[in-house]
Amino acid sequence: MNWIDIVTIMRDEWSIIGILILLLAGEILVDKKQLSMLIPVAIGLFVLHTAMSFIPGDKATLFGGMYRTNEMMHFMKAILNVAVLIILFQSYDWVKTTLLPNGMANAFYLLLFAVLSGMYFLISAGDFIMFFIGFELSTLPIAAMAAFQLKEMRSTEAGIKLVLLAGLASGIMLYGISLMYAVTGTLYFDGFLSAYYHEPLLVFGFILFLSGLAFKISLVPFHFWAPDVYEGAPIAITSLLSVVSKAASVFILMILLLTVFKDLSDAWKMVLYILAVLTMTIGNLFALRQTNMKRFLAFSSIAQAGFILLGILAGGAVGAATVIYFVLIYVFTNLGAFGVIQAIKDESGKEDMTDYTGLYRTNPKLSLVLVLALFSLAGIPPVAGFFGKFFLFSAAAGKGYYILLIIAVINVTISLYYYLLPIRAMLLRTSEHPIPAIRSSNMMRIGLLICVAGIMILGLYSPVYSFVLGLTQSWL
């Protein structure tokens, strides 16, 4: 294990840390008047970083097993990069108008990239210490960013709620990890369970550990923090939480359950089954009543997380492939929806569904992006969401989970109702005072365009799924 290996294998991590250092230096050294220059620099560097992450990675372990990676994990990081990149494009206007005058723009990017680096370590963790470092690093800075919507009480409330509850969740999780350590005597993932897998103390520790992760994925009944935090935080952070953070936690949950905790599967399958049913159903039922678009998408993403659990339950290379594929599509879909909401909020300050009435007459293209995103969320062909859902359900059916499948498809139908509500407001109804025509900035347009491209192409273009399946097959 020499220095060259460390740099090339961990190139994503080094790259993002390099960007962080550059931005930090810029913060300190650059003259205050010229700080606005840092924004395009940050975005430009990140574009390079994302492009570089598409060079395939290899299977490797470092630091005695604390850090491990393979092609699949590398692809997961690439997905996270694309997601953050889209968020960067879409939040550009907001950063420029709200944060920059207060000198917080650079802080935003620093915290954001720190969160992303935490997610890298989370996914590449080879033992529980690295996992916990990644877990904390990918949660706590978001709490600070949640309070960035200055002069709004809800935003500060969101930040505090997140910090407190995240602290609670990680404390419980750490306790669980320590109990598991007490039983097995090792923190390394490799061969973690070996002979101890039915020790009651281990199972107890595992449940506590799972609760911490469930908190981060906002599964029901660990979701209570989500609606208020999602609503209070600025839209960019809501997207970060409900898309990127969720994606990363789902990835590591899947990796851990299918490899490290494989022998405990009769325990966690039952737990996951119940969590899936609760999450899908309650997420849906609550989404029915929401009119604030951020809360609406928050509950929608809670319900979608429930669907993802079906893929993890199915397990195997196929189940894992459907999970990654679905998350990939979910990223583009949700960021598309959030992007539209951000664009509308930037221009008009409105984020309630009733204000969207008649939007199609004044902003046809923007409405259409939201319509496409909503169709994809509902799972309607020919957009990608249909394929993501179908394959997920197919994986679950393949393992015989027909009752769960029936509950899932009933929930899909219920969710269609509330996904049609914004469409109803925008297209079916007209208003005396609709939101006037919005001219989005180029950055926002690029962000939205990437999302639309993803939504339209990722489903119909079959090599994407085959590629993902190849990754999981070589992993398992």
């Binding site: 394959f391 498809v409 139908t413 109803r424």
Partner: protein
């Protein structure tokens, strides 16, 4: 490019042309031209099909093509047609074309209207040529969702409610269908070591009887909801009443037939032993639906509701005949699908024309219209005759075939239901003639109506095309019946072979 995929390419190109076009008049012209080409092409397909059929050996499906799509799942873009599919394709093309004509003067967001309409028809065409369950399901959902926009934006009355109810019920049905399709995929015997979505493969080797019993209700109900089977028909009256004219035409004329088509192509063909064992439950529902729809229509005073319930009744007859699973009944039910499709499309077109002039659909408020709008009135009388099964019109040929086939079954249940079905003709006659008498004959009740426009060229065109088909099939049903019968016979043979 193969002969069948062009059926999807033409509407897609039309949609693209619409998206880039500008100007009110151009939208309807592009749509009319596009659908006109599609109609001509489907007739060309028919001629090619007939020549191929004459030469072909024992192949049930012609013009087949398989393109690998998702290899890991063994999902393929697999297409092919037989006589039944070709007939349904021509039906769809004609109704879409006449629907475009009837919508000639749509005022609000015309571009979006025609785009939605043609996207819908693309879904339908894709549905009828699909031989792979996944592909068929994709096209099925593609056809359902534009309904929400079409009814919600361009409809009348409680359109939001009707649109939402229709969409949720149909998508709920497709959710059940999804469960059934996945069941078919995983429980049918594997082909070359893989599960398959291919309908042809599964038909040759159906799954275990116990598995069939579990999944048959899902697939049957999934399609039967679209076919407005009692008691899942409740989306239909409100949906039809609130929809704009062309949408009602397409929906009652074509989409509901997709339900019937799906029932026999997927539910009955791929799970025949379950159909034999538990089909009687659904037969009772269908048989009940025939009379329920007829009596429901009897009570209505709103023209569209009358026609909607009438459609429920006629489609229940189709489902009933399909469940009998013999050659004559099946041929009759396909013929009825086509015949009723044309008849109901013409009905809705005429109702739309009347509504546009009188601004009411209430029969009690109208009278003596035959004097004021003679063309429309006369057309209405003729299509009414067709609907109650007057010989010389397509309805008679279809219903005759169904009843002949039904009477061959001597079981008590089948006998009772058949007799009920035949009695429904009387009820149909009552509500049709009552409307004709009340609305068209007699003195003019509302003086203001005397100023109404006579029928315009595009309305006449649509009506004449549809009526010509109805009379053509009625006077010379042999050709169409042979087309259908030739394709039904091997299917029934396959079912009966599997049942042994």
């Amino acid at each position: 490019m193969d002969i069948l995929t062009i059926l999807i390419i033409i509407p897609t190109l039309t949609v693209l042309a619409l998206i880039f076009a500008k100007g009110q008049k151009s939208y309807r012209t592009i749509s009319a031209v596009g659908m006109g080409i599609q109609t001509v092409y489907s007739i060309y397909l028919l001629t090619r099909y007939l020549t191929e059929r004459a030469e072909a050996g024992g192949e049930t499906m012609l013009f087949r093509r398989t393109v690998e799509w998702f290899k890991p799942w063994n999902i393929n873009y697999e297409i092919g047609v037989d006589g039944i599919s070709v007939a349904m394709i021509i039906l769809t093309a004609i109704i879409t074309l006449t629907g475009v004509f009837v919508s000639w003067r749509v005022k609000e967001l015309p571009k979006e209207f025609f785009v939605s309409l043609i996207v819908l028809s693309t879904g339908v065409f894709g549905f009828f040529i699909s031989l792979d369950l996944f592909t068929m399901f994709l096209f099925y959902e593609l056809a359902v969702i534009p309904m929400y926009l079409l009814i919600g934006i361009w409809g009348s009355g409680p359109r939001e409610y009707a649109a939402m109810k229709l969409t949720l019920m149909l998508m709920g049905a497709s959710a059940l269908l999804l469960v059934g399709i996945l069941g078919l995929y995983y429980h049918s015997p594997m082909v070359e070591g893989h599960h398959t979505f291919s309908m042809m493969a599964i038909a040759q080797a159906p799954m275990e009887h116990m598995d069939q019993l579990f999944f048959f209700p899902f697939v049957f109900v999934g399609f039967a909801v679209l076919g407005a089977m009692f008691p899942f028909h409740t989306w239909s009256p409100d949906g039809h009443a609130s929809a704009p004219t062309a949408v009602s035409m397409l929906h009652a004329g074509v989409l509901m037939k997709m339900g019937g088509y799906g029932v026999f192509r997927v539910a009955l063909l791929l799970m025949p032993t379950a159909a034999h064992e538990i089909g009687w439950i659904f037969m009772i529902l269908a048989g009940g639906g025939i009379l329920y729809g007829a009596f429901g229509a009897l009570r209505q005073t709103d023209l569209k509701y009358i026609n909607a319930y009438s459609s429920v009744s006629h489609l229940a007859l189709v489902l009933f005949a399909l469940l009998l699973m013999d050659v004559v009944s099946w041929s009759g039910s396909v013929l009825q699908m086509i015949s009723h499709g044309l008849i109901t499309a013409l009905f809705f077109a005429l109702i739309g024309m009347v509504y546009e002039r009188t601004h009411t659909r209430d029969v009690t408020k109208m009278g003596g219209l035959l004097k004021i709008i003679p063309f429309i009135g006369m057309m209405y009388v003729m299509v009414g005759m067709a609907s109650l099964g007057l010989p010389g019109m397509s309805g008679f040929a279809a219903e005759l075939a169904i009843f002949v086939g039904a009477f061959q079954h001597s079981g008590t249940l089948e006998r009772v239901l058949t007799i009920m079905a035949v009695l429904s003709i009387v009820v149909t006659a009552v509500y049709i003639l009552r409307v004709v008498g009340k609305m068209l004959m007699g003195p003019v009740t509302n003086e203001a109506f005397k100023q109404m426009d006579k029928a315009r060229w595009y309305e006449k065109t649509a009506a004449i095309i549809l009526l010509a088909c109805i009379i053509g099939i009625g006077v010379a049903p042999g050709g169409l019946y042979k087309l259908i019968n030739e394709s039904v016979t091997p299917l029934i043979e396959l079912i009966q072979k599997g049942a042994l």
